[in-house]
Symmetry: C2
Subunit: 449 residues, 2 copies
C-alpha cells in the first residue's frame, strides 16, 4: 500500500492552491493530488474555448506548479475510504494522514422534458466533453442557451462573436441576475449589438425534437427552433465522495465545514465548490461558488493541515467575481442592491461614472460606472458593482479589500489613490471615491433636513 502524508482529491484550482500551500508550509511531507480528469480545465476559461481560444487544449490547467514543487499527481478516481486509507477505481489503496476533498461542483440539468435529446449539452469541466461540444457547435447554425447567468452570457458572447445565431432564454427578468438590473440590461444591449438575442422573464417548458433537439417550448406556449441547446442553469456542490467517505454534508449545500474547513472528521478537510458556503453579511448558507473563495480556502487549509498556524476570522463568501462581455467588463463584490433588499439590510447607494483615462482623449479610454452599497447607519461599505474597461477586473479587488476591511465612507475618502493619465481615471473623477462621495452627499442632505 502506498503512503502519502497529505492526500488531496480533486485537480481544480482549489486542490492545486491547497497542494502548493501545503508544500510551502510542510516542505518535508509527501503530497499527492489525485484527480479523475487527466487534463483538468481552467474552469473560468471554459467559455473561451468555443471561439477566442483555438483549441479546447489551450485551456488546460498547467501541471507546471505541481511538478516544480514535487507534488505527485495520480490520474484516477477515488471510489471509497476506510479509516486512514482511500481506495482508487483499480482497487489500489492509499494511506493518508490528512485528506483534503476538493471535488468541485457539477453542472445542474433542470427537470424538464427532453433533456436526453441529442445536441443538448451542459457546460461541463471535462476536456473530451467540451471537445465534442465545440465540434457540434461548429456544425450548428442556431443555438439556444438556457440560462443567462455569467456562464450563459459568456458563452453567448463567444458564439455571437463567432457569428452564430444565438438566443439566451433566462427565467429571471434580467441577464446576469447576480448583479443589479442596470448591469444586466447593459449585457443584453451588448449581446444584441453583436447579433445575439436574449429572452428574459420566460422559462423553458419542454425541449422539442425527434431524437435530436429541434427547439424549445417556453412557458407562454411560444416555440423557438434550434439545432443545439446549451443548458447553463448553475452548478451544485459535488458531494459524491462525501457520501462514500461518510462525512457530513447537506444536499445542495455541500460538505459541512467549520471556519477552518474541517469536516465532521478531524483529519478530513473540504475546500472549494464542494464545501458548504456561508454568506459574508448574514452567515446564511450561500450558493455562490467562485474561484475567489476556493483559492482563499485552499491556501488556508494548506497552511493549517497539522495545526492552526494561520488564524482566520472567518469572513464568509464575499462573492468577488468579474467577467467581460463584448468590450465591457462587469464585476461585483459583496452585496448588490437586490440582495440588500432581499436580506433586509438598511442601505444607501452611491453611484459615479468616470472615463478611465485622463484627459479622456488619451488612447484606451472607456467609461466606468461604479455602484456602492453602504450600511445607512454604520456607513460601512457592504457591496460594489462596476462596469467599464479592462481595469474593472482589478478595480473590483480594490473594493473587495475595502469591504473585507469594513471600511467606511470616511476611510475611503481619506485614501491615497494612485492615478495616471494613461492608466486610470483622473484623481478628481476617480469613480470609487466619487461613488462614496455620492453616498455622503445623501447623508449630508439628511443631516441638513
Amino acid at each position: 500500500m502506498k503512503h502519502y502524508e497529505i492526500v488531496i482529491v480533486g485537480g481544480g484550482p482549489a486542490g492545486v492552491a491547497c497542494a502548493l500551500s501545503a508544500k510551502n508550509t510542510y516542505p518535508d511531507k509527501n503530497i499527492v493530488l489525485i484527480r479523475k480528469e487527466p487534463t483538468p480545465m481552467i474552469p473560468c476559461g471554459i467559455p473561451y474555448v468555443f471561439s477566442t481560444l483555438n483549441e479546447v487544449s489551450d485551456n488546460i490547467l498547467p501541471d507546471t506548479p505541481l511538478i516544480a514543487n514535487n507534488i505527485e499527481v495520480i490520474n484516477d478516481e477515488v471510489v471509497g475510504r476506510a479509516n486512514h486509507t482511500i481506495v482508487l477505481s483499480n482497487s489500489e489503496e492509499i494511506a493518508f494522514e490528512k485528506l483534503v476533498v476538493a471535488t468541485g461542483s457539477k453542472a445542474v440539468m433542470p427537470n424538464i422534458e427532453g433533456t436526453e435529446k441529442e445536441n443538448v449539452f451542459l457546460v461541463r469541466k471535462d476536456k473530451e466533453y467540451l471537445n465534442n461540444l465545440k465540434t457540434c457547435i461548429q456544425k450548428s447554425k442556431k443555438i439556444i442557451i438556457l440560462g443567462g447567468g455569467y456562464i450563459g452570457v459568456e458563452v453567448a458572447d463567444e458564439l455571437a462573436k463567432a457569428k452564430k445565431d444565438v438566443t439566451i432564454v433566462e427565467m429571471m427578468d434580467v441577464l446576469l441576475p447576480t448583479m443589479d438590473a442596470e448591469f444586466g440590461s447593459k449585457v443584453k444591449e451588448i449581446i444584441e449589438k453583436e447579433g445575439g438575442k436574449a429572452i428574459t422573464g420566460k422559462s423553458v417548458k419542454k425541449i422539442l425534437g425527434n431524437g435530436k433537439v429541434s427547439g424549445v417550448e417556453l412557458n407562454d406556449g411560444s416555440k423557438i427552433s434550434c439545432d443545439l441547446l446549451i443548458v447553463s442553469c448553475g452548478y451544485k456542490p459535488n458531494i459524491d465522495l462525501a457520501e462514500k467517505f461518510g462525512i457530513t454534508f447537506e444536499e445542495g449545500k455541500g460538505i459541512l465545514v467549520d471556519a477552518y474547513l474541517r469536516t465532521s472528521e478531524k483529519n478530513i478537510f473540504a475546500i472549494g465548490d464542494c464545501a458548504a458556503k456561508y454568506d459574508f453579511f448574514t452567515g446564511e448558507y450561500s450558493n455562490i461558488m467562485l474561484a475567489s473563495t476556493a483559492m482563499a480556502e485552499g491556501r488556508l487549509v494548506g497552511s493549517n493541515l497539522y495545526s492552526i498556524k494561520v488564524v482566520r476570522q472567518y469572513p464568509g463568501v464575499l462573492g468577488s467575481f468579474s467577467t467581460k462581455i463584448g468590450a465591457t467588463a462587469f464585476a461585483v463584490s459583496g452585496i448588490t442592491e437586490k440582495r440588500a433588499k432581499a436580506r433586509s439590510l438598511d442601505y444607501t447607494v452611491g453611484i459615479a461614472k468616470a472615463v478611465d483615462r485622463h484627459p479622456g482623449k488619451l488612447p484606451g479610454a472607456s467609461e466606468v460606472t461604479v455602484k456602492l452599497i453602504f450600511s445607512t447607519y454604520s456607513h460601512t461599505l457592504m457591496g460594489a458593482q462596476i462596469m467599464g474597461g479592462d481595469s474593472v477586473g482589478e478595480m473590483i479587488n480594490i473594493m473587495s479589500v475595502m469591504i473585507l476591511n469594513k471600511m467606511t465612507d470616511i476611510d475611503i475618502t481619506n485614501l491615497q489613490i494612485g492615478t495616471h493619465p494613461l492608466l486610470t481615471a483622473s484623481p478628481i473623477a476617480y469613480p470609487i471615491i466619487n461613488a462614496t462621495v455620492d453616498a455622503i452627499k445623501k447623508w449630508y442632505k439628511y443631516q441638513l433636513a
Copy 2:
C-alpha cells in the same frame, strides 16, 4: 468689496477637489476658486502633450465640475492679505471666512552654469510655456533631459516615440530612483529599445552654448551635444503666498499644517504640494508630492472647513504613484527596499511574477512582477512595487488599500480576490497573493531552521 464665505487659492487638482468637497458639505456657502493660470493643466498629463496628445490644449483641466456645482472662478493673482481679506493683483479686495491655500509646486532649476541659455526649459504647469516648449521641441533634433525621475522618463518616452534623438542624464545610478533598481533598469531598457539613450550616475556640470544651448558638460568632463535641454530635477512647494499671508512655512518643506491641514492661522488651510508632508511610516518630513495625497487632503479640508466633521487618523504620505513607459506600466506605494534600508526598517521581501490573463494565450496578456516589503517581525505590509500591463494602474491601489489598513501576510492570503481569464492573472498565479506567499515561505524556513 466682494465677500465669499470660502475662498480657495489655486486651480490645480487639490483646489478643485477641495472646492467640490466644500460644496457637498456646505451647499449654502458661496465658494470662489481664484487661480493665476486661466487654463490650468492636468499636471500628470503634461508629458503627453509632446506627442500622444495633438495639442497642449487637449490637456486642460476642465471647469465642468466647478460650473456644475456653482463654484465661481476668478482668473487673477492673489498678492496679499489683511485679516479676513485677500488682495488681487488689480487691488480688488475679497473678504473670506475660510481660506484654503492650494498653490502647488514649482519646477526646480538647479544651480549650474548656463541655465539662462536659449532652449533650456523646465517642465512648468503653464499652458503658454508648454505651447512654446512643444514648438521648440518640434524644431529640435537632439534633446537632452536632465533628470530621470518620473517626469523625465515620461517625457523621454514621449520624445523617443516621436523619433527624436533623446538622452536622459540622471545623477543617481538608476532611472526612476523612487522605485527599486530592478524597475529603473527595465525603464532604461525600454527607452533604449525605443531609440533613446540614458546616462546614469553622472551629473551635469555646465550647460554649454553661445546664447543658445549647444550641449552639456558632465562631471567626468565628457560633453554631449544637443539643441534643446529639458530640466526635470524635481519640484518644490510653492510658498510665495504663505510668505505674503504671514503663515508659518519651512523653506523647501512647505506650509506647516496639522493633521487637519490647518496652518498657523485657524481659518487658513493649506493642501496639496504647497503643504508640508510627513512620511507614512516614520513621520519625518517627506518630499513626495503626488496627486494621490493632494486629493485626500483636498477632500478632507473641504469637509472640515467649519468644524471637524470627518475625523482622520493622519496617515502621512503613502506615495502611491503609477506611470507607463513604452507598453509597460510601473507603480509603487509605500516603502521601497531602498527606503526601508535608508530608514532602518527591518523588512522581508516577497516577489512574484504572473501573466495577467489566463490561459496566457488569451489576447492582451503581459507579464506582471510584484515586489512586496513586509515588516519582518510584525508581518505588516509596508510597501509594494509592480510593473506589467495596464492593469498595474489599479493593482497598485489594491496594495495601497492593504498598506493603509495595516494588513499582514495572513490577512492578505485570506483575501477573496476576483479573477477572470480576459481581465486578470489566474487565481493560482495571482501575483499579489503569491508575492505574499513568497515572504511567508521565508518565514517558514526561518521557523524550521
